[in-house]
């Protein structure tokens, strides 16, 4: 009745209200084409193919030949997800022996928000040397939109590709007690998501390592601005590691550079660490910045520390 009354008022006063109507229409059109900052969190670069050691672009770390990995241990793998009703293949790299995953301990590495696997390849090589070359299998993959993986870089697709990686490992015979997960920066989100939802993913990690994790999308927004702005003003992202970690019951190793100005210790890593119940350890590196912690700590000391945590 109220609605029909409003419609009647509108029709009888259309001439008078025409300008107001068009203004409201313009506002409605602008609002309905709502811009979101979500894609800003993802910073992918496409690749035709992966070059690994032959890649000439910028990389996450500058490694010496000491951490080389023989070609026989490098395996290109892929696993499917559905993105917008279309099947796309997630591109991954497994370093180790794919035929012995059923008996090996495997580290699933979730990389940061930048570029693609070629950028993070030096990190994967480092982890392949934890406890000696080949002691642990290491799987890394590109989220949709990154490198040679097609699709859209979204929060949902990031989780879907992690799920698919876990499914692939499970089909190769891996069990949860031999799965470790490590997330760097953005990669901390899928690790907390999987570890915080035990039973909802094909496998659950028995230990997790978070390097330079971010606390939540909202804190990222509030850290960037001077005003205490609600996250929803700018993003739809639901990533909230500081809350998810409260549900994680497996041991955590937190590594963070004290000079990380992108994701600060105080506003990000410390919050995640403080909210984690149960077993946890931390390694704070003086002078370490967002990307440089392994270098500042010393590559060998860095992987030895992670290996010690895994081996406990």
């Amino acid at each position: 009745m109220v609605l029909s009354g409003l419609i009647l008022v509108f029709i009888t006063n259309f001439k008078k209200m025409k300008k107001l109507f068009f203004l409201a229409l313009i506002v409605l059109l602008v609002v309905s084409c709502r811009k979101r900052m979500d894609s800003f969190l993802f910073n992918p670069s496409p690749l035709e193919t992966y070059l690994l050691d032959a890649y000439q672009g910028e990389t996450s770390l500058d490694l010496s030949g000491q951490y080389a990995v023989p070609n026989s241990m490098i395996h290109r793998v892929e696993f499917p997800i559905i993105d917008n009703g279309e099947t796309i293949m997630i591109q991954g790299i497994y370093v180790g022996d794919t035929s012995s995953i059923a008996s090996d301990t495997v580290l699933l590495y979730c990389h940061g928000n930048k570029d693609h696997m070629d950028f993070y390849w030096p990190r994967q090589k480092l982890y392949a040397h934890m406890g000696g070359l080949g002691r642990y299998g290491v799987l890394m993959f590109d989220y949709p939109g990154y490198g040679a993986t097609k699709g859209s870089p979204t929060e949902e697709n990031m989780y879907a590709s992690t799920r698919s990686a876990l499914q692939w490992l499970k089909e190769k015979g891996l069990t949860s007690n031999r799965l470790m997960m490590m997330g760097f920066s953005l990669g901390s989100a899928p690790v907390c998501e999987v570890a915080g939802h035990e039973g909802e993913y094909p496998l659950a990690p028995s230990k997790i390592i978070l390097e330079a994790p971010f606390a939540s999308a909202e804190i990222l927004i509030q850290d960037g601005g001077l005003l205490s702005m609600p996250g929803s003003f700018l993003v739809d992202l639901k990533i909230d590691n500081a809350t998810e970690i409260k549900k994680v019951n497996v041991p955590l190793l937190w590594i963070h550079g004290e000079d990380d100005s992108f994701l600060t210790v105080a506003h990000h890593g410390q919050l995640v660490y403080d909210n984690k119940p149960g077993a946890k350890e931390k390694v704070l590196i003086p002078g370490g910045e967002h990307e440089t912690t392994p270098f500042v700590m010393g590559y060998q000391a860095y992987i030895d520390r992670i290996a010690a945590f895994i081996g406990q």
């Binding site: 001077l226 005003l227 100005s261």
Partner: protein, 234 residues
């Protein structure tokens, strides 16, 4: 996403309090109406485009309640792009005037509502400006009222207040007061006024570790803002 879009959204994020210049440097005449539009924002280095003020825009309406008090309301177009309604209601009060100069105080309440989630914010604001009419030309036709041309310079301080004590995850809000300094010029005509203003945004806060390169007169602190405004009075 190209660089321009990234920088635009970062400006919305980082300097959302710097999206408009002074609305009314001095009050309207009693019973006078004004509609206005403002453009400009923080000056940023945009790759491929140079150093430019980013195009925030707003439209508003003002009404002279008395010779010393004007009330106004403004709507911000840039926030609408994010599905966030941003309006302000404000007043311009002139507590002191002598000959060609005066001081005005402008309290305002900035209201933001996310149309999709209902999240909202109220940010109070208090601006103070000193103005000086350095050139006044009266035509015979309008002697005594509505001078034909007045040129005015002004300077002042704009203060935003963020009264929310805690942020996400219970963190303490460390930026309760965000000041900016402004300097401007107004060309006042019988019906049309034009305004140029420069701001030093948030001069007490560091501009380091922000993805965008903000030129500032104060090195690693604050940012520079540039604005253009136009008023039509009737």
């Amino acid at each position: 996403m190209n660089s321009f879009k990234i920088i635009l959204i970062l400006n919305v994020l980082i300097f959302s309090f710097g999206c408009a210049p002074t609305r009314y440097v001095k009050p309207l005449e009693r019973g006078e109406h004004s509609v206005n539009a403002h453009f400009g924002g923080p000056v940023s280095k945009v790759p491929g485009m140079g150093t430019i003020p980013l195009p925030f825009s707003s439209i508003g309406y003002g009404y002279g309640l008395s010779e010393d008090l004007t009330v106004s309301g403004n709507m911000y177009a840039t926030s609408l792009l994010f599905g966030v309604g941003q309006v302000d209601v404000s007043a311009c009060y002139q507590p002191w005037k002598k000959d060609r100069m005066g001081i005005t105080l402008s309290p305002a309440l900035n209201i933001l509502v996310d149309f999709y989630t209902g999240a909202n914010r109220l940010w109070p604001q208090l601006d103070a400006n000193y103005y000086f009419d350095y050139s006044i030309y009266r035509s015979r036709a309008v002697e005594g009222r509505n001078p034909k041309r007045i040129n005015t310079v002004y300077a002042g301080i704009s203060n935003w207040f963020d009264p929310y004590l805690t942020e996400s995850q219970g963190r303490k809000n460390e930026q309760f007061w965000i000041p900016s300094l402004q300097f401007g010029h107004q060309w006042e005509r019988r019906h049309w006024d034009y305004q140029l203003e420069m701001k030093i945004l948030a001069p007490i806060y560091s501009n380091e570790n922000i993805v965008v390169d903000y030129p500032s007169l104060l090195g690693n602190y604050g940012a520079l803002g540039a604005y253009f405004g136009v008023h039509y009075k009737f």
